[in-house]
């Protein structure tokens, strides 16, 4: 289907597709097995300017939008959703700075993220704070004031869990409570650089899928962060996090679309050559209908994802419902299509010698992270009901 991408988006898509095919696909299974972080691929993406496509030109980027980021994430995910996540998570870590950061913070951090010299990571989740982000226990205590050297500092304490890119990234955006009494209005966002005293990383998690993605705890023990690293104002952390996630969710949707497309491409190629009862199995209507459904579902999810990404790029104020819809629909689709891709290939699909079972394992996470699909439904329903009330 033609999505009328602009010239730069087509250029970016074709380059990302080529990198996926030539550089990522040959090593995807190897990284899945070794669970290593794919730094050589990150270097290729950096040299190709892909880390900067969604970052404004004045901060060293190419001035594209979330749609451009989605197009890259989708193409990379067609070869490996885990390696693509290293790319997409850096965007997730950069978004709080892009959306809510000061001019100084943007000038200091965004060019390094845009060039790919440094990766970013976003630290929200904790052991007791998943879907309920209001239950955050990590604290940030202010010491000194604007008259102190450097304008004072914050002392961070607490443990963030399941942080993507943890240990590999250099720049972390962290949500911590500056005033627990105020609840969500007491949360604040900070930029913490790797190497800051009092910041450590926990053990690397062993996961079902996206195994080449680094997932670790980020532990703060009396970690001193300059007051200049507070994003926006105290109490604005939760809003910064919500805006970030509203903006980034089309990226998860794009990752899901890419994985589904990758699995589908393999399964369809296989089905064309798999002969049973004297003919390729694509000659059987049962298989044809599966192919038709899978292709249609992928296209529908892609259309919704791109439409929402365009809406985000238009500067629309209220995007929670739409971005939740894209993430929900695309990730449920990816789980179904990758499962069907394994089914289409029968026993071969189940074998780790073939790439399709990995897509199925990798796809599952898209229904869980950046807000479970149950939470997405809550968000969608709440918005629909509110909109309906407003019409009365």
């Amino acid at each position: 289907m033609d999505y009328f991408l602009n010239e730069q988006q087509i250029m970016v898509r074709d380059l990302a597709r080529r990198i996926a095919r030539e550089k990522i696909a040959p090593v995807a299974a190897q990284y899945d097995e070794s669970e290593e972080f794919a730094w050589p691929i990150m270097k290729v993406l950096a040299e190709s300017d892909l880390f900067g496509i969604y970052i404004p030109e004045q901060y060293g980027g190419l001035g594209g939008g979330i749609l451009d980021m989605c197009v890259v994430t989708e193409e990379l995910s067609r070869a490996c959703g885990a390696i693509a996540l290293g790319y997409a998570s850096s965007a997730l870590g950069a978004l709080p700075i892009m959306i809510s950061g000061s001019e100084e913070q943007k000038k200091k951090y965004l060019p390094e993220i845009a060039s790919g010299r440094k990766l970013a990571a976003f630290c929200l989740t904790e052991a007791g704070a998943g879907s309920d982000a209001t239950a955050i226990q990590t604290t940030a205590r202010k010491e000194g004031d604007s008259s102190s050297p450097g304008g004072g500092k914050y002392i961070l304490n607490g443990t963030k869990q399941w942080i993507t890119n943890a240990g590999e990234a250099e720049i972390y955006t962290v949500i911590a409570m500056t005033d627990k009494k105020k609840g969500v209005r007491g949360a604040s966002a900070f930029i913490v650089e790797k190497g800051t005293k009092g910041m450590e990383f926990g053990k690397k998690e062993k996961k079902m899928g996206i195994r080449a993605s680094a997932t670790r705890e980020v532990i703060f023990t009396d970690c001193e962060v300059p007051a200049a690293n507070l994003i926006s104002r105290e109490g604005m952390g939760f809003i910064a996090a919500l805006k970030t996630l509203d903006t980034s969710r089309p990226g998860v949707a794009a990752q899901a679309v890419g994985m589904a497309q990758g699995a589908f491409d393999h399964a369809l190629n296989y089905a064309r050559t798999r002969v049973q009862f004297g003919q390729p199995v694509t000659g059987f209507q049962a298989v044809q209908h599966m192919i038709a459904d899978m292709g249609t579902q992928i296209e529908a999810a892609r259309a919704l994802t791109y439409a929402v990404a365009r809406m985000v790029d238009s500067g629309a104020k209220s995007i929670s419902r739409e971005s939740a819809m894209a993430k929900l629909f695309a990730s449920d689709m990816a789980m179904k299509v990758t499962t069907d891709a394994v089914q289409l290939m029968g026993g071969y699909g189940y074998m780790r010698d073939y790439p399709v079972e990995k897509f199925m394992r990798d796809a599952k996470i898209t229904q869980i992270y950046e807000g479970t699909n149950q939470i997405q439904r809550n968000v969608i329903a709440a918005n629909l009901i509110k909109e309906s009330l407003q019409k009365d």
């Binding site: 730069q8 250029m11 970016v12 380059l15 080529r18 990198i19 030539e22 550089k23 290729v44 040299e47 190709s48 300017d49 892909l50 496509i53 190419l62």
Partner: protein, 260 residues
């Protein structure tokens, strides 16, 4: 130091068709790409620039559509492109081609190193690079697999041989032809592709490069391709079995029948 890299646009297939009448390549309907060996030359030239400063100029001789190869080279890090194109160049052999390119390189001037791929994937002669250095009367090192050290005046390089490698020191300016062992070419960058899109490609004709008309094209080519053919595949050998004595006897009989 300014660097010149010579590239060729070739059909993107190893299964090229040959026009039986003219014995030249049929290019219609075949996608054209930068000669794969030249990709290593471009990468090495760009790495030299990144180390030493200066600029990289990509040069190609070919039909007008070869401009795309130059834009692709700019996307990979070259700074400028020169297309040497004229109907008078048609039918050039490696002698005429290397003469034409050397005339263009003289017009560009001010260079420290010329880098070429070891050969083109279509003609496979490996003669144009060395030919350019002969016409320019500068030193050449072929099959370079590593540049060990380089400054404004000299370079020390490893030249790949069948048994291993030679270490060669050469004064500059000089010409290198490079093998694929020398580097891993990078992917193009988006910024490079954008620069490539708007870059101005210099287009030079025979008159622009002050070339001797008699040395150009078919008339300037001392060699002719008489015939191109695929050699008959070798037939498998004959296996004689039986006891050692019988085998030896039969073999002796067979050999007697041959011209020994």
């Amino acid at each position: 130091m300014n660097i010149i890299v010579c590239i060729k646009q070739v059909p993107n297939t190893t299964d090229v068709k040959i026009d039986p009448a003219t014995n030249t390549l049929v290019r219609d309907g075949v996608e054209s790409v930068i000669n794969p060996f030249d990709a290593y030359a471009i990468e090495e030239a760009v790495r030299l620039k990144e180390k030493l400063g200066g600029k990289v100029t990509a040069v190609t001789m070919g039909p007008p559509q070869a401009e795309k190869a130059l834009r692709d080279a700019i996307a990979l890090g070259c700074d400028e492109g020169v297309l040497v194109s004229d109907r008078k160049f048609a039918g050039s052999d490696t002698w005429a081609t290397s003469y034409t390119l050397s005339a263009a390189i003289e017009k560009i001037g001010d260079y420290g190193v010329i880098v070429c791929g070891k050969q083109a994937s279509d003609g496979d002669t490996a003669q144009v690079g060395p030919g350019i250095s002969a016409h320019l009367d500068i030193p050449q090192v072929t099959y370079v697999r590593k540049i060990r050290g380089i400054n404004e005046k000299t370079a020390v390089v490893e030249r790949m041989t069948e048994e291993g490698f030679d270490v060669v020191e050469t004064p500059l300016p000089c010409l290198f032809t490079v093998v694929k062992e020398i580097n891993t070419p990078r992917m193009p960058s988006i910024k490079g592709m954008m620069r490539a899109k708007s870059a101005k490609i210099s287009k030079w004709t025979a008159a622009d490069i002050d070339a001797e008309p008699a040395a150009l094209g078919l008339d300037g080519s001392p060699t002719r391709v008489v015939k191109i053919f695929t050699p008959e595949p070798r037939k498998g050998g004959e296996i004689i079995s039986g006891s050692a004595g019988d085998v030896a006897k039969e073999l002796a009989e067979l050999l007697k029948g041959e011209v020994v």
